[in-house]
Subunit: 380 residues, 2 copies
DNA sequence: GAATTTTATGCAATCGGTTGCGTAACGGGT
DNA sequence: ACCCGTTACGCAACCGATTGCATAAAATTC
């Protein structure tokens, strides 16, 4: 009680000044003691710490940020669009960031907007950097503006060679290629593709990788529909695919959310999975593991993606002139029941599910999890 | 461009000082002009604005926060636990907050932790307030600490009468009561309940409301299992319920994620929904609308919950001595195919789905949405 | 014991805004 | 011409830390 004009009814928090007054030393000594500067004697250091603890001192990050020119906050830019995968993994982002003693500020750009819309916020709060989801509309100019004003940018699942932004990506091309191989090995002859939102790099890569994988075996896409990375889009796309004659016997939906919709559409058409038709997705969202779907997919290793992003960001904060880089990490194929399992893969399945090189993105599961038998289950 | 020691390679941002120097007026004049203080002549005001625009001036929120003692940031405290409903609605929170020209800082507390763990961050960044999800472990002391230090707290879906925290809740009691009535009207005779995490207020309310609803008709719960608000928990709980003889003919799973698991477990047991057994959930997560589930549920009006939360917070920021209050809003019953529809409700269905009193939480749907025919569909 | 190095601390400026108070200039009334 | 009330703006303190430089005290060297 009794800070002269504290925050309303609340008590005002203790400051360095109070500690220094209480101890009869200077502000600077307190400041240095608090952060373990070695030019401070162990004795006064201990005394300062004691009083700080007693008073419940919390350094004012705002004031510190003003002089250090580091806010300690990084921005996480999301799109208005639903993006189940990263929504689900938000928790991991926060975990990694707080491990570095930093904070996450959430910024959102509208579907018909641009990264530029949130730049004022980024600049006003002097963010130390930002991580931008692939679903966010981003112009080169906007990214350039960020870096020009000293806000390092890391793009998730997207690159922008003309800018100074770094990138961390789950290798969509390689993953999709792998899916193509898997489907071919499974003996499928009419392999269809459901594309994502156009002019999205990730959509492009997944399509290109898939086509490349097919081409390597002298094959090509039997049919192609657009699904816009949404459930409804995937549903409609599948309806259209199912109306073809002959009907496709496999569908690669380039995102899990579309793949789940595909499974629903297939089921409604009275067809069986994977007997009549195989479905594979990409992302590894939680729902893909649910018994109703048991979707074979490639899981993006969210933990790694975030960790690398923050690595890149902090490195860039330390050394602003560090050249941008792009890190690719591989996804983990989760072989479940939605696609016919090629001979030989039954054994690999278990292994593929948990590669030793990287933590599994969907690792921690409760013991009695209905989704525990991830491989080999052929009934959908 | 030579700010003397800008942020690394980046140009340093213009300041009030630069503007004032450029125009030959004082800092104070610039500051006042920028925020439309009326003691500034229209002429200089325009001149200041012009230069500010030309220089691309962005006020330093950090510096401002130092003196105004308002950071302009509110904390959004989430739990480590997966919480599909609020994850999905994050976008709405951000939208409402940015509409008030504020920012959202994401804070996370571990499952075995407490709100107290993030209080240092809240205090260091001098958050103007915080919104706390129901899934976050919170002690009374922690909440008291927040309010004592001038950080107003709004609890979502939970109350804490002993503290000065305000609350915004979707009326779990009333909703569950309504579900009980619905199931009874549907002619069910063995009505089972899947409970949430114990010592969670929301779990308690949903159970109490449900029991009250049954009791009003002289009925009671036929069986009860715990599902811990998780998919796996709901799945196991359902297995146990299905092993009873006679088997329940209706299940109210007190969260959607458990209800979806219930539907999966039921399907795997070879039973049909709703012919053999009806299932109802609570929350209104996106997946509840998917064709594989078509879950009848009560949707929490996220938009309203967030809006009221922010209202409460800003009111409290304006007047710190404002007494705490609790706002209850009703959920919207979404009648879909997972539960037998009682006679009379077919007509009501459409109406119940979109009450005029409140915006529908799951309103905006793409035109060709497979989930558009929300009512009347009896096949699961 | 004097000179020199090392160690521990203080002074004061600084970050970039905001704001209470003081005052010059101006216009109008008589 | 004098008084007075506005109007428009400047001065300087302040918010709460950090930090370069100066300096007093202690330790070391010769």
């Amino acid at each position: 009680m009794g800070g002269k004009r504290g925050r309303g009814s609340g008590g005002s928090l203790p400051t360095v000044d109070m500690i220094s007054a209480r101890l009869g030393v200077s502000k600077s000594t307190v400041s240095r003691a608090l952060k373990g500067h070695r030019s401070i004697s162990e004795k006064t250091r201990a005394a300062v710490m004691a009083i700080a603890r007693e008073l419940g001192y919390q350094p004012n990050a705002i004031a510190r940020g003003l002089v250090t020119r580091r806010s300690g906050i990084i921005g996480f830019v999301i799109a208005e669009t639903e993006n189940p995968f990263f929504e689900e993994q938000l928790e991991k982002l926060t975990k990694h960031v707080s491990r570095r003693e930093m904070q996450v500020l959430l910024l959102q750009v509208a579907t018909n907007g641009d990264l530029a819309d949130v730049i004022p916020s980024m600049l006003q709060y002097r963010l130390d950097g930002c991580i931008i989801l692939a679903s966010v509309p981003v112009s080169k100019e906007a990214v350039a503006t960020c870096t020009r004003y000293g806000v390092p940018v890391v793009l998730l699942n997207r690159t922008m060679p003309e800018t100074k932004a770094s990138s961390v990506l789950c290798n969509s091309f390689a993953g999709s290629q792998r899916i193509a191989e898997f489907l071919i090995a499974g003996g499928h002859s009419r392999i269809a593709f459901i594309a994502g939102r156009q002019n999205s790099i990730i959509a492009h890569d997944r399509e290109a990788g898939f086509r490349a994988g097919l081409a390597a075996a002298g094959r090509e896409i039997y049919a192609r529909e657009e699904g816009g990375f949404t459930f409804a889009g995937g549903y409609q796309a599948t309806k259209r695919l199912l109306s073809l004659t002959p009907r496709p016997d496999a569908i690669f939906a380039s995102s899990d959310i579309m793949a789940l919709a595909a499974l629903d559409a297939i089921r409604e058409a009275g067809l069986r999975v994977p007997d009549d038709i195989s479905v594979i997705g990409f992302d590894g969202i939680r729902a893909s593991a649910w018994p109703a779907y048991r979707l074979t997919t490639i899981a993006q290793p969210a933990d790694i993606l975030f960790e690398r992003s923050i690595d890149l960001l902090t490195a860039r904060i330390e050394d602003p002139n560090r050249p941008p880089e792009a890190i690719y990490v591989h996804g983990n194929m989760l072989i479940r029941g939605s696609a016919r399992i090629p001979p030989g893969y039954e054994l690999l399945a278990e292994h593929l599910d948990r590669p030793s090189s990287a933590e599994n993105a969907t690792a921690q599961k409760p013991p009695d999890d209905p989704m525990k038998h991830d491989a080999g289950e052929r009934r959908a």
